[in-house]
Symmetry: C3
Subunit: 172 residues, 3 copies
């Protein structure tokens, strides 16, 4: 049975670095990037992350259909999905309605329930601040929280990163 | 000696579901709802939570005097208070001055120090984002943080929920 | 070898109180306050914290050059730095450019790598809410997250406070 490892945390908490370290033992490694470069801030961020990874990973950019991208990855290796929260933002931007978003989430959960390879998923905790004044931001944090719960439920291991240090949320 | 179980976490982190599971062994079960339905968003949220509970609970709605509502609950069962952060918001809205709010908090703490039944309290972590620009939001998060500390201090067990998974903050 | 103890958490999560308790066994104790009293809200906060500490500490106020203040503290005691997030805010306000801020951070890390005494550092988690709309706030939370990771990496022990209760992030 393949592993499904869930890594969550706040901004700059070391989630991606920790996920990369978890991926080290695997060959081949696929990096599934969900971010789209809308502006210079994003382009910088994506560039820094690519430098951090080096050449050990094959990078696949897929903002929406991550279930298919995981199924298309080489057998026997690992797929690192970075990250689910950006993916959710892409779906709200490109798909809009909650029905279509839920279809994509169900498609991902189907993959996680019978994983074709080992999978590491990075996500963000966005619900531990004051309730946002903006209604769209409230909807986003509700959907993000629910997505995180459902993915974490499918995981075989789960970690919360805090100041670069992992807290174990779930173990074998 | 009765248990006082404190369950905290961010928005959509699985706090309420976890608290409901902790209440399962008890009979009778009282659900003490602090939320008032100001608008459709709240009405939907309250409705979804009621559906989740089913008929195993007697629901009591009490936005302010939760100390009395806990004392009035049936002996030998459990009272699940959901949630303290909404209760604090109600007090800021209806009572306003900090003196009256503190009186109500002391009244709750008195109940928790000599609990008449087992009590499960759900709360929210709201202080892990950027400092809010809005002064009222800053006051709210300071009061919420202090309330959480004082209630957690009275608890016999405490949990932080993250992506639906519990971290133990305090054990017997 | 001296200890470097890192204590983090949200607003009003009990970080400072916990750090004060960790400092109790030491003599002499230096409290290194990074906050500047810009307004009444800050003056109140600083005053409350001073009352909480009592006379067991010598207080040193240093908003920027905390590496030097740590080196100047009495040998054989403890220095409690409260807090790193306010220090970062001071540096953004007074130094401005990222190069000068990074120089100060490197100077602190140098001290932490060969500590002249035991050091307890308090910080804030600010990256677990929704992405701020304000670009300056985004920059601040990115820098704060990175600072926290680098300091936590140098620590011998690390704690996350939640509702006044500590979660162990790192142990000897």
């Amino acid at each position: 049975m393949h592993e499904v490892i869930y890594v969550t945390g706040g901004a700059r908490s070391g989630k991606s670095s920790y996920a990369l370290r978890l991926a080290e033992p695997y060959h081949p490694r696929t990096f599934l990037a969900t971010a789209e470069a809308f502006d210079d801030e994003m382009r910088d961020r994506i560039g820094r992350h690519q430098d951090e990874r080096g050449e050990a990973f094959t990078t696949v950019e897929e903002p929406l259909f991550i279930d298919r991208a995981i199924r298309d990855a080489p057998v026997g290796g690992v797929v690192l999905v970075d990250c689910l929260t950006v993916w959710l933002g892409n779906m709200m931007h490109h798909l809009g309605d909650e029905g279509s978003i839920n279809d994509r989430i169900e498609a991902l959960l189907d993959v996680l329930k019978s994983p074709p390879c080992d999978i590491i998923l990075v996500s963000n905790e966005v619900g531990l601040g004051i309730v946002p004044e903006n209604a769209m931001a409230r909807t986003f944090r509700d959907l993000a929280g629910t997505l995180n719960r459902r993915v974490a439920e499918c995981s075989t291991r789960a970690y919360l990163l805090c100041s670069g240090l992992p807290l174990v949320l779930k173990q074998h």
